[in-house]
């Protein structure tokens, strides 16, 4: 909600600066941004009472003197004779109507009304609607103005549950569905209560007689309607958060005052319906409890003084909560008021000592398994549980984001296969992935299983021992036998026939319930360690990868390490990785052969053959400076 600094400070005799008010608002918990002397406020949903000039001033009154010199029409008024029936009193326990006739529609507005539109860059509509909007901004209480000449039948407020077309006063056509609180005239909806009225009964620039309706609607009746019908409405925003239950007639009297400052009122009358008297909320004065909750030590005078400034009344040993503060019910609520006034950041820390728990980490087996997989080059992934294809006993999402995410997955493997293909498309020739997650199914209730899935394909590893070995069921079976020699795991070979890929290497999968793993795994000593620090992320390149190999013949074995160091420490913007893919000792010729694979990729551009050759030749030149090594063929 946007509130102009000028509109606040006119009621603050001390003329605090915008920065001072901003600091106070933050301390009170009212987040905002400032642009061109306008506060763009973001109130928490429990503070609907602050959605106005007066509401914000009520909170600021704890720090500043406030002079709310808004005149109000206090003369006796004739009772309005209106044919009105409230058929849903529970959801609208209070409602008032004011009928006003003016002699002439004003062409110019007084300063305060004009400033409202100009300072906030708002468009005007018609006189009565403009006053209504202004008063909603000033008081927080929305009103709705009908052209009184159109209300010529019995007006009914009720909650209906039928489909009906409705055209809003903003020319938007909507179809009412489900339960809706509405005002009807002649069996036709003329106002979606608390949200927006219809075009046919709205005031126009020619309206001289208006029927102004001012009500309290239960927030739960209004909530969700503006989203449901895609209608942005200031009124619904306020009603959803709750307006002052006792302000309706007072706001209408203020309405008269503002109208009277602009036009000669020929006739006016008012009627108020109170179907249920408000019960005052009273909370016992207990400063010790407040001190205990916050962990401070204030005296009772200071405590009550804070609350009084915020609009609370002290009656004997009780604190009476003002009608506009529907969020206050308990001692904890009052403690929050005090904490806000003191300032959360000014409350001292008190040392906390939580008794230590003896319980072991219940996920020991799972964690051991994760590190075991890490040791063998597997990467942990996390996938979305939402899938588009149903399976037997799959759980259906009632309100999915889209049809591709309408069910919960029944297995983890399908997601991992997608991950595998994603990486293969990025030229990865050794992919080992695992995921541990809950999966759910429905059969006579909802069932949960915690599963491990692994998917692997391609080379066993990118080192000279594993480079030429392919991942297969034998490799994985032997791997698991290392930790669980007596347990059998049913690895599957997944056919690539139905997959969008030209790669031929076998895809091996396993999906198994974590409960299958015995505590024997706890004796496994992992080599992988947790990272010592939080690695800084380097942006990823999606540009093509190129590889080139270099093979060396070495007769002076003392040079092996020098050559290895040269390659493995080589730095270039376009060299992504270098590893030894081949190492062979030829006993007959008494020489060692070492093969290096160089992986090229740029983060900025697709590499040309010339760019790659440049780096490649640089490596050759540097390496051939080492005595006792040669490159066969060069």
């Amino acid at each position: 909600m946007k509130i102009a600094y000028n509109h606040l400070v006119q009621y603050m005799p001390g003329n605090p600066t915008i920065e001072e008010i901003s600091d106070s608002l933050f301390q009170l918990g009212h987040e905002h941004e400032i642009e061109d002397n306008i506060f763009d406020m973001e109130f928490t949903p429990n503070r609907g009472d602050c959605l106005s000039i007066n509401g914000l001033l009520r909170d600021l009154a704890v720090f500043y003197s406030i002079d709310l010199n808004q005149e109000i029409y206090n003369e006796r008024l004739n009772e309005l004779n209106i044919d009105f029936k409230n058929q849903s009193e529970k959801i609208c326990p209070k409602i008032s109507f004011l009928k006003l006739e003016i002699d002439k529609v004003p062409e110019l507005y007084k300063k305060s009304l004009e400033d409202y539109f100009s300072d906030l860059n708002l468009s005007k509509n018609n006189f009565f609607t403009d006053v209504s909007n202004y008063l909603s901004y000033e008081t927080g209480q929305p009103t709705h103005c009908y052209d009184a000449d159109t209300i010529n039948e019995k007006l009914i407020f009720h909650e209906i549950e039928k489909q009906e077309e409705f055209e809003t006063l903003l020319d938007k056509k909507i179809t009412l569905k489900g339960k809706n609180a509405v005002f009807s005239l002649n069996n036709k909806v003329i106002n979606l209560a608390g949200i927006i009225g219809c075009k046919n009964t709205a005031c126009s620039t020619h309206t001289k007689t208006a029927l102004v309706e001012c009500a309290y609607f239960k927030p739960e009746v209004i909530i969700g309607k503006s989203v449901k019908y895609d209608i942005k409405s200031e009124a619904s925003h306020k009603f959803e958060r709750g307006v002052d239950k006792d302000s309706q007639e007072k706001v209408l009297r203020r309405f008269i005052q503002v109208v009277s400052e602009h036009a000669n009122i020929k006739e006016m009358s008012i009627v108020s319906y109170n179907y249920k008297e408000n019960q005052d909320i009273k909370i016992a004065v207990n400063v010790n409890k407040i001190n205990q909750i916050i962990g401070i030590n204030i005296n009772e005078n200071d405590y009550l003084n804070y609350l009084t400034k915020l609009g609370f009344a002290i009656e004997e040993n009780f604190i009476k909560v003002p009608s506009f503060r529907s969020d206050i019910k308990t001692q904890n609520d009052l403690a929050e008021e005090v904490a806000r006034v003191i300032g959360y950041n000014n409350i001292s820390r008190a040392e906390i000592n939580i008794p230590k728990s003896d319980n072991r980490n219940y996920k020991d087996i799972e964690n051991k398994l994760r590190y075991f997989l890490l040791d063998h080059g597997f990467y942990e992934v996390i996938n979305s549980p939402f899938v588009g294809i149903t399976a037997k006993e799959a759980i259906k999402v009632d309100n999915p984001l889209d049809s591709n995410r309408a069910f919960l997955r029944k297995n983890l493997t399908d997601s991992l296969v997608e991950n595998l293909l994603f990486n293969e498309r990025r030229q990865k020739d050794s992919v080992k992935l695992f995921e541990i997650s809950d999966i759910y199914s429905s059969k006579n209730g909802i069932h949960k299983n915690r599963m491990l899935s692994i998917v692997a394909s391609g080379r066993v590893g990118l080192n000279y021992q594993d480079f030429s070995k392919k991942i297969d069921t034998k490799y994985l079976t032997e791997m698991f036998q290392e930790i669980l020699p007596n347990e059998f795991f049913d690895f599957q070979i997944l056919s690539r026939d139905s997959l969008d890929t030209k790669i031929k290497s076998e895809i091996i999968t396993l999906e198994v319930n974590i409960e299958r793993f015995s505590a024997d795994i706890l004796s496994y000593r992992e080599a992988s360690k947790s990272p010592e620090s939080f690695a800084q992320f380097n942006p990823i390149s999606d540009l093509p990868i190129s590889t080139k190999d270099l093979s060396y013949s070495i007769k002076d074995f003392s040079k092996i390490r020098e050559l290895e160091n040269l390659f493995l420490s080589y730095q270039s913007d376009i060299v992504k990785n270098i590893f030894i893919f081949d190492y062979f000792y030829n006993e007959k010729s008494q020489e060692v052969k070492i093969g290096f694979r160089i992986v090229f990729q740029s983060k900025e551009t697709t590499l040309t053959a010339a760019q790659i050759e440049l780096a490649y030749n640089d490596l050759i030149d540097q390496s051939l400076k080492i005595d006792g090594i040669s490159i066969p063929g060069i």
């Binding site: 918990g29 949903p45 429990n46 909530i223 909750i293 916050i294 962990g295 308990t330 001692q331 904890n332 929050e336 806000r340 959360y344 950041n345 409350i347 820390r349 008190a350 906390i352 939580i354 008794p355 230590k356 728990s357 219940y362 994760r370 997989l373 890490l374 040791d375 080059g377 990467y379 942990e380 996390i382 979305s384 999402v397 009632d398 309100n399 999915p400 984001l401 991950n419 994603f422 990486n423 990025r426 990865k428 050794s430 990118l462 080192n463 000279y464 594993d466 947790s530 990272p531 690695a535 800084q536 992320f537 380097n538 990823i540 074995f557 092996i560 290895e564 062979f584 000792y585 060692v592």
Partner: protein, 241 residues
């Protein structure tokens, strides 16, 4: 290959995998909290409205319960938990105070844009004992933040609103660029919630806090797009060893 003595083989560099950075961050935070005395408890990702909302004082009228914010399943008989707080409700119903629980895991909200995903991760904690105060909560939060971001970090508490805590606060840290970044939500457990769990709020009080893992992981690792975490790109994952 049989290798004669005197030949120095190249180092055999075995490629190790890595934990997912979100799980690693979650585990790190939970390990830290265990060291403070908290006990880890777990609960289902598919929850009832009663545990996800009612028991936590989130009224029927609360916007979070609307179909546009919460995923409902199986003809609205259940939902995908929107936070890990229902796990704490289950814990409080099972055990009498003093108690100190943490729970971490996946949560779901009906969001999908550049900064929000329909699935993300939280760690939440609760401590219930006699005379637990807001100033003790502040001490705990300082300890958590200092452990995660170092003792030089500047932090601030802002009043906020959660139906299950009162008073409620949000905590920000000051970034190197001078911008306040929201890190966690916390507060004293609303007595209504204690009462719902058959805990006498006249004797006991509690504190609670919750952290969004993705946000902290993004800050710690310098990741700017939350979606990177869930592409399963090996070039991404291999950076977190």
């Amino acid at each position: 290959m049989s290798k004669p003595k005197g030949i120095l083989s190249p180092k055999l560099v075995k490629d190790r995998g890595s934990l997912h950075p979100i799980n690693y961050m979650k585990d790190s935070i939970m390990d830290l909290l265990v060291s403070f005395g908290f006990e880890i408890i777990d609960g289902p990702e598919i929850e009832s409205e009663e545990f996800n909302f009612d028991m936590l004082n989130i009224r029927k009228s609360h916007p979070a319960r609307q179909m546009h914010d919460t995923f409902y399943v199986e003809r609205k008989s259940n939902l995908l938990r929107t936070h890990t707080s229902p796990v704490q409700i289950r814990g409080m119903l099972e055990k009498k105070p003093p108690l100190a629980f943490i729970s971490g895991g996946k949560v779901f909200r009906k969001d999908d844009d550049a900064t929000h995903l329909p699935m993300f991760h939280q760690v939440e904690g609760i401590y219930v004992d006699e005379n637990v105060s807001f100033s003790q909560l502040k001490d705990l939060i300082y300890k958590i933040i200092y452990s995660l971001f170092g003792e030089d970090v500047e932090l601030r508490f802002r009043p906020s609103y959660f139906p299950f805590t009162e008073p409620s606060a949000e905590v920000d840290i000051l970034s190197k660029e001078g911008k306040w970044l929201e890190i966690l939500g916390c507060g004293l457990v609303n007595p209504v919630v204690l009462e719902n769990c058959n805990i006498d709020y006249k004797i006991y009080s509690g504190l609670a806090f919750g952290l969004g893992i993705e946000r902290i992981a993004m800050l710690k690792h310098g990741v700017t797009d939350i979606r990177e975490f869930y592409k399963s790109n090996l070039d991404f994952l291999s950076q977190f060893k």
